[in-house]
Amino acid sequence: MIISRQKNQDELKKALTGLARVFLVGCGACATVCKSGGEEEVFRMQEWLATGGIAVTGSVVIDEACHIMRAGRDLRQHRVAVDEADGILVLACGSGIQSIAISSAKQVVGGLDSLFLGNVRRIGEYEEKCSLCGECILNETAGICPVTTCAKGLLNGPCGGMAEGHCEIDDGVDCAWHLIYEKLKKQGRSAVFDRPVAPKNWSGKQKPGRHKVER
């Protein structure tokens, strides 16, 4: 899931400068779970905008705002309200914001910052486990990703900052390589420790990423 949080009010106010009427868009997927852009947050945003003298011409929570065609369809269904607005305020991740920008000529204001691809520990508590690096090494690292969970993304074992199994940047963070070592030891495997791991091939991560499933 894409973890996101609302921009602070000062930043948002600045971004909304010159807009008297906005159409509000939320997202029914990740931003709903993160409580940053679901039904409830869209409603609260409408109230907050009113206190600042910004009228809301209408709103929609798109099933998955990252779905470009669906976002376009939902905007068309609210064409009158969208046309009345000076701009569209989107409470969705960066992907969702851009689905809307693709689908409308209006000024689009993003209300969220997208943080990372996250696992849900419990509601309101998210952890980054995968950085979508394009070349997965998990089969050799006991299912623990060093690219993401090592602060330096090291591929050949812990750095000199490891202290009693903790990471040098924060005592409260486990050293990924310590976790990998302990788990492999329990499994009786040496896996990633058997060989020097070659430098990562980042060529598969050229931006912008595109992927088409062959049928």
């Binding site: 602060a151 330096k152 993304g153 090291l154 591929l155 050949n156 074992g157 812990p158 750095c159 000199g160 900052g161 490891m162 202290a163 009693e164 199994g165 040098e168 940047i169 390589w177 310590h178 070592y181 420790f193 020097p196 791991v197 070659a198 430098p199 990562k200 980042w202």
Partner: protein
């Protein structure tokens, strides 16, 4: 040819120290400071140490070469991708720099540019492999070089890190990837260090023990709280705390560690942090 390499090959007890490039564009003072240490085998030149931005270690190392002082060029993976690291290595060769200490590098969050994007395109093991490849005349892309550089590539190790086996797995990897010598993180526990050397000696790569001059108890506590990989035992902190002359006590502690090094490894790397004048005293037997 690298004096460091020659002396280690001759099984001499080697002493290195380190200097930091200036936070500014004039290296005159740093070179003056280095000249005072010219009698040591070689001088490490730190690379944005602690992730604090300074003059490049390559520039100061090049200037030291020109001044007839032998540098150990420290290079970290934090600030440069594989293209920049390789081109700097070739640049180092052009200056006549042979000694390298190849490191991962402290995390950017420790330094004065915490908003920087850390690179870590390579890690220290891969950078060692890269330097080894360049010496064989081939870059990381498999392209031939017009001339192959000559390096004496070293690496770092934290002998007191726990778990020992995990730390040692990486030590082995570094040797397999071309580490020709090691300089250790500051060590304070003689038994622990001797234990490490017992495991390391059969691998036959020279080790220089990191000896850090503790100036007082406050500094020791600061190191424990803020410097990754440094652990001053409580007993030593107390010794410094109870001493009337903490600096003299710090020198005594460093001398004890040098004595341990003389007994079980091939040299020391001294970190005296502004008290370079005390180096002869620390080395005196």
């Amino acid at each position: 040819m690298s004096r460091l390499k020659e002396r280690l090959a001759a099984k001499e007890f080697v002493v290195t120290a380190e200097i930091a490039p200036p936070k500014g564009g004039d290296a005159t003072l740093a070179i003056e400071q280095a000249k005072k240490l010219a009698e040591l085998t070689a001088l490490n030149v730190t690379d944005n140490q602690g992730a604090n931005m300074r003059m490049s270690s390559l520039a100061l190392s090049g200037l030291l070469c020109q001044a007839g002082i032998e540098p150990i060029l420290q290079m970290t993976c934090r600030d440069r991708n594989r293209l920049a690291l390789q081109s700097d290595l070739l640049g180092a060769a052009a200056f006549g720099i042979e000694n390298l200490l190849l490191l991962s590098g402290d995390h950017a969050s420790f330094g004065d540019h915490p908003e920087a994007r850390s690179v870590f395109d390579l890690d220290s093991v891969q950078l060692l492999q890269t330097a080894t490849g360049l010496m064989q005349g081939v870059d990381m892309a498999g392209k031939n070089l017009s001339s192959a550089p000559l390096f004496f590539a070293g690496a770092a190790v934290s002998p007191e890190a726990e778990p020992f086996d995990l730390m040692f797995l990486k030590y082995r990897k570094k040797i397999a990837c071309g580490a020709q010598f090691f300089q250790t993180q500051a060590v304070f526990d003689p038994e622990c260090f001797a234990g490490f050397m017992q495991a390391a000696s059969p691998l036959q790569v020279p080790v220089l023990a990191g000896v850090l001059l503790l100036k007082n108890a406050r500094m020791a506590r600061f190191l424990n709280a803020n410097i990754p990989g440094v652990k001053v035992p409580e007993a030593l902190v107390e010794r410094l705390d109870q001493s009337d002359n903490p600096l003299a006590e710090g020198v005594a502690i460093a001398r004890e560690m040098v004595a341990v090094a003389r007994a079980c490894c091939q040299g020391v790397h001294l970190m005296t942090l502004g008290h370079e004048d005390l180096i002869p005293e620390i080395l005196s037997i």
